[in-house]
């Protein structure tokens, strides 16, 4: 018989290195004559799309389009140290560093523009849709490129170097008390499974995942990050296990160490919740690791809901499920 079950998993995750370790990212920025800009940062884009995120952050701040920004990263001869691409820290930490650096480079342009526009404060100047002009007076604006060109002709150089450091403190060694991480990210997922009581096989039919991202800088990338996390979580819950014999790996191949394939990954509905994290760039916090956390729990709880057995060791293989079903049957028979 194939029995259906649903389960919920919730998780939380303190992002950043934490525990008072200096969690610093840096960025260099230059705004060019034609109004385009280059961002240099040490942050490695490991395929999650951080370079695109920095382009969006810089473009937003300069009133440009994403393609007007060149992001070059992770070359030690050129880029400043931005820490590891780990700990769910690059959107938040390096994103903050990029934003600070862009603002610094931009501030020189604003100073110059304020004088050009006879505006006594840079607060009266805005960058929007490729133009720089007076807030509230659309008739007084010029293409950003023209203003940058003028500023540079007068010897201004719109370059900057900035760093951003996340906040955290070491916990007490005896009581563990302290504020070790900030910010925390939250998420909740549900899984619907079908358990075959004859074979012990679990099919995951659906996963719905809702994650707290502060602000989705790129919703497509958020959804992709969630989908990848769910797939990895399913592997952790149901398939993956390094088999060791006296420290030797018995299955060092993808034919025997099983990871989910497209056929194992169900329909994933990915949602995000936006409640701005005030310390993050445009309110954003990281999502990389949280995306995979609740999946295990949702699946294990769904298996229990389906067939009434509690799997307490990962992965939940067919053997473990059949064994648990047999034990349960025996116990019922005794009663």
């Amino acid at each position: 018989m194939k029995k259906r079950g649903i389960g919920i998993g919730c998780a939380w995750y303190g992002t950043g290195y934490g525990n008072g370790f200096p969690d610093v990212s840096s960025a260099f920025v230059e705004i060019h004559d034609d109004g385009s800009a280059t961002v240099l940062t040490g942050a490695v884009d490991v395929g999650q799309g951080s370079n695109s995120i920095y382009a969006q952050i810089a473009a937003e701040e300069l009133g440009l389009e994403s393609q007007d920004i060149c992001v070059y990263s992770a070359d030690t001869d050129v880029t400043p140290d931005s820490g590891t691409t780990a700990a769910t820290r690059q959107t938040y930490n390096t994103g903050n560093a990029v934003l600070k650096a862009v603002r610094q480079a931009k501030s020189r342009l604003l100073d110059y523009a304020a004088r050009e526009f006879s505006c006594p404060t840079i607060e009266g100047i805005e960058l929007k849709a490729g133009y720089i002009g007076i807030k509230g007076d659309p008739s007084r604006r010029m293409p950003l490129a023209d203003m940058v060109f003028k500023a540079r002709l007068h010897g201004q150089r719109l370059i900057s170097a900035e760093s951003s450091t996340a906040r955290s403190t070491p916990v007490d060694l005896e009581t563990g008390q302290g504020a070790p991480y900030w910010p925390y990210a939250f998420g909740s997922q549900m899984a619907e499974v079908e358990v075959d009581t004859e074979t012990g096989m679990v099919s995951v039919l659906k996963v719905v995942a809702v994650h707290d991202v502060g602000k989705a800088i790129n919703p497509t990338q958020v959804e992709a990050q969630i989908a990848g996390g769910v797939a990895q979580g399913l592997g952790y819950a149901l398939l993956e296990e390094l088999e060791l014999q006296e420290g030797r790996i018995k299955n060092p191949a993808l034919s025997s160490y099983l990871i989910p394939t497209a056929l194992d990954v169900p329909n994933i509905e990915a949602f995000f919740v936006e409640e701005a994290e005030e310390t993050g760039p445009f309110g954003a916090k990281g999502l990389g690791e949280p995306a995979m956390l609740p999946t295990v729990a949702a699946v294990i709880n769904a298996i229990d809901d389906a067939v009434g057995v509690r799997i307490t060791s990962l992965p939940a293989t067919p053997e473990k499920i059949l064994h648990a079903l047999a034990v349960k049957k025996e116990e019922l028979a005794k009663k």
Binding site: I6, W12, G18, N51, E60, D75, D81, E240, E246, L293
Partner: protein, 420 residues
């Protein structure tokens, strides 16, 4: 906040190159005159290397060099402590690199690697973390800690006796998680060479180019300013590219031979060249009052650090800090341990110690709900963190805790189809 570019579905700049196969991964870059490096790895989990004989390997036509521990200027690297050898003469795990062969072709390098003769003095090994914790077991890193317990983190909050007195329902259960591999699709690969400036250049896929640069410079005795680490496209990482894998070995070979060195792991080699997710044994005892509020929790978490420290201290700290789940529990006692064994070393992997505890704390929530005869959703709604909540470490969550919104969005989906 009103934004236009932030919040939009901008197409990634790297998308087209990946779709059309134009993106350069480290396996795709080559230089004329390059040699190929292959690592000789230990088949034993705990041993001393008495002697390495390279004569036979060197006699093979096309072999350029065979290097071992004695050829490494400063033979160590590591993210927290430099406890991991570049090329080992003391083996702590199967797969520890013992020698590297450089040859004109990959085939010759692989064949010659089989001819490197290593005389091992075998030592007793320990694979069970609880056994490794016993004081009589030989410590694997006496220079770091006198026993195999690398790290213990206690969390104490409230008063346990008071907490258990308030509990109407108590669930006590053991949980276990397994060793897993990052299984990124692109095995480790790199190109290392001394360029026209006399600088060491390493083109690779890593999670932290600046860290790699520092470790290469340290091991080879170079200035940071003489080492360039350039990151090419990364085919997945998930924490498995945080520790050094082949970077120093390849740079060493390039420095010794002054030839560009190409290295690329097979899948099997890849399994042995990076960390694993910590397997954990977790004992949980959680109590709730009749009204479905959590009142007390005790947890003991033992993480198998394997053969080297890597990030184990930080990982087990993260396990402890997150052990309650996103729930308010006034009385908490948690102890987490990181323990050395002769298993493959454990390190960073997506979730970093907070992934394992989810199995335990979320299973406990469902088991408690069942006892209390309330729904899994309901018990979570009654206990989850919100703005102003205090965590087990005493941290007050001052803003941005929208778990209520996450659960509200999930709630309508909590329906299942028919059995068949």
């Amino acid at each position: 906040m009103n934004t236009t570019v932030v919040g939009s579905r901008v197409l990634r700049e790297d998308a087209w190159g990946k779709v059309f196969g134009q993106t350069k991964f480290p396996a795709d870059v080559n230089l004329p005159d390059q040699i190929y490096g292959v690592v000789v790895r230990s088949p034993y989990p705990h041993a001393r290397v008495r002697e390495i004989s390279i004569t036979q390997a060197m006699e093979m036509p096309g072999v350029v060099a065979v290097l071992s521990a004695k050829d490494v200027p400063h033979n160590s690297h590591g993210v927290l402590f430099r406890d991991q050898p570049v090329l080992a003469d003391y083996i702590r795990m199967v797969g520890d690199p013992v020698a590297v062969v450089g040859a004109e072709t990959l085939e010759i390098a692989r064949a010659a690697a089989k001819l490197v003769q290593v005389d091992y003095e075998l030592m007793p090994a320990v694979f069970d973390p609880e056994e490794a914790m016993l004081p009589e077991v030989l410590p694997l890193h006496p220079e770091l800690c006198p026993t195999n317990i690398l790290y213990h983190m206690p969390i104490r909050r409230g008063a346990m006796d008071k907490g258990w007195a308030l509990a109407d329902v108590v669930i006590e259960q053991d949980y276990r998680t397994q060793h897993i591999d990052h299984a990124f699709l692109q095995p480790e690969a790199l190109l290392a060479y001394v360029d026209e400036r006399g600088h060491m250049v390493v083109q690779t896929a890593t999670q932290y180019a600046h860290y790699d640069r520092g470790e290469i410079a340290h091991a080879l005795g170079l200035r940071f300013s003489q080492v360039q680490v350039k990151t090419l496209a990364v085919g997945g990482a998930f924490g498995g590219r945080e520790d050094i894998s082949l970077q120093i070995i390849a740079a060493l070979m390039a420095l010794k031979t002054l030839r560009p060195v190409k290295m690329e792991n097979t899948r099997e080699e890849s399994f042995y060249s990076h960390s694993k997710r910590h397997p954990m044994r977790m004992h949980y005892k959680t109590g709730a009052s009749k009204d479905g509020k959590l009142v007390a929790m005790e947890a003991k978490i033992i993480g198998d650090a394997g053969a080297y420290a890597s990030w184990s201290i930080n990982v087990l700290r993260k396990s402890a800090v997150h052990a309650t789940g996103p729930y308010e529990i006034p009385n908490v006692s948690i102890d987490s341990y990181a323990v050395f064994t002769n298993n493959p070393f454990s390190g960073a992997m997506r979730g970093f110690g907070a992934a394992q505890t989810v199995l335990a704390y979320e299973s406990q929530m469902d088991l408690l709900a069942k006892e209390l005869k309330i729904s899994p959703l309901e018990i979570r709604l009654r206990n989850h963190f919100r703005v102003g909540s205090t965590t087990a470490t005493g941290q007050v969550l001052t803003s941005s805790v929208p778990l209520d919104q996450c659960l509200a969005k999930i709630a309508p989906y909590l329906q299942k189809g028919e059995d068949t």
